[in-house]
């Protein structure tokens, strides 16, 4: 399972309030949430993001609220993967549960700039920066998590097994 896209680069402690501000939590519509994704940290994000693009951030990405609307907004925007030095724990759980691939790889984060084109192989955990010709190795997902991501989330994977 491979994805390729352009990097949108952010700093540390990107919280769920800037990923999807609470004023938009009066809906659970994925399309509506996507329209306001990253609005309070990067107002142009929703209009510039392309299908397959990749979010890259420093430490503690997704800190704050438990709102699943945050990874939902990112996934519904077309983002194929989030790479960070570290993730807040509820965000990490939520992202996997809804089938949004996320990788912790401090080395790769340090070597990526806004606009770089990156290819990621989830089976091997390889992150290749096509713009710079560099490669990095993240810990690949264990099979049960890869199953959840392939199925498009935990609920779908439970349904498939029923």
């Amino acid at each position: 399972m491979e994805v390729r896209g352009t990097v949108h680069r952010y700093g540390s402690n990107v919280d769920t309030d800037v990923i999807i501000p609470a004023r938009y939590l009066n809906t659970s519509s994925h399309e509506e949430l996507a329209k306001h994704c990253m609005e309070d940290i990067d107002p142009g994000f929703a209009s510039t993001v392309n299908h397959g693009d990749i979010i890259v951030a420093e430490d503690n990405f997704g800190c704050g609220s438990s709102r699943e609307h945050a990874p939902i907004a990112i996934k519904a925007s077309g983002v194929s993967c989030v790479i960070a030095k570290s993730f807040a724990r509820i965000f990490y759980r939520n992202a996997i549960n809804i089938g949004l691939p996320i990788l912790e790889c401090p080395e790769a984060v340090g070597a990526m700039e806004n606009g770089d084109v990156v290819t990621i192989d989830f089976d091997t955990g390889t992150i290749h920066n096509d713009s710079k010709g560099t490669s990095f190795q993240a810990t690949p997902f264990p099979p049960f998590i890869l199953d959840i991501i392939r199925a498009g989330g935990l609920i779908n994977s439970i349904k498939e097994k029923k």
Binding site: S28, I90, I158
Partner: protein, 427 residues
Amino acid sequence: MGMTMTQKILADKAGLDRVSAGQLIKVKLDLVLGNDITSPVAINEFDKGGFDHVFDKNKIALVMDHFTPNKDIKAAEQCVQCRKFAGHMGITNFYDVGQMGIEHVLLPEKGLVVAGDCIIGADSHTCTYGALGAFSTGVGSTDMAVGMATGEAWFKVPSALRFNLTGTLPAHVGGKDVILHIIGEIGVDGALYQSMEFTGPGIASLSMDDRLCMANMAIEAGAKNGIFPVDEITIDYMTQRSGRSFKIYEADKDADYAQTYEIDLSRLQPTVAFPHLPENAKTLEEINGMDEKIYIDQVVIGSCTNGRISDMAQAAALFKGKKVAAGVRTIIIPGSQEVYRQCITKGFLEIFIDAGCVVSTPTCGPCLGGHMGILASNEKCVATTNRNFVGRMGHVDSEVYLAGPAVAAASAIAGYITGPKEASSWK
């Protein structure tokens, strides 16, 4: 090597003799919680999964507290969805306007959470119930959906940081000041994936409200949970409110802590977290030493962190016979109907209104920038809430300063950030 208090609860709930940090386990749940924002997403997932009943209609709590009384049509529709689901599933602990309070004020007060429980909630501040000696943690809506359907959740067993509390708090210093000090020390990811276990003789001097406030903000250090040992104060609190039996767990004497922090409560001061992270903690002494006063436009006293009766009492003691400064909108939000009623019977409501404050029905409202006190650009607010992220209470160019109720009330009267000791010299 022994187990931490958290690990002992998790081992028991997983049906195992022992667990160790990093181990993946599946545990039985005593309560699954959701609110009017997270439950709709969970109900959608529940339906998508094809589930037709909940694991136990008495072990689910749905609290309509975030955007209620309904702030707009979409918020109203979300509550309709929750109301229908609760009715259809026969959920007994459904709290709507009139009965509801802010979830983490309400559940302990109603006796729905007790020591030894294992609780998940689709709200990050679910970690509050660790104050009662329970394992309790925030999750997302999918985990809530699966929890409602199966009564189970999977966890990676956390390692723990130990905070050994000694001494007693000085006057006008409370649980909020302690936890802001700690987050200032360790940072917003200082306890990432870990438990924060509070121990030591200093705990005996902390009220239940202080402990609930401290456990509530464990998530602001990135923690999976915060937890307090069970003592006479906890037992009194639980037996007055709950008919449920409880179980007391204690950390092993040789429990393995990743790190131990020594906190002398007697040395702590009123503390304020500056924008835009809860780790930006400054003592009042540092603030008083700044070149310029920080003038404010709004004060909010309430929330799942500081919306309890002792918080209201601290605010009332300062507001009594005083007026809020011109231009400072002061919004007081008792955390539950019970807290609201006590504010009436104790005469606090009259004090607040005479001082020029507005008193709201329970709601999370302004804390997350929902309603009931949204900030315009460049406005500043002192709030007893738990987060001061960019745009948290409104415009991205507004600022939130986190503090306890005493600092918030003193600042409302002064018009700038100041403390209760300074206020005592005012006429």
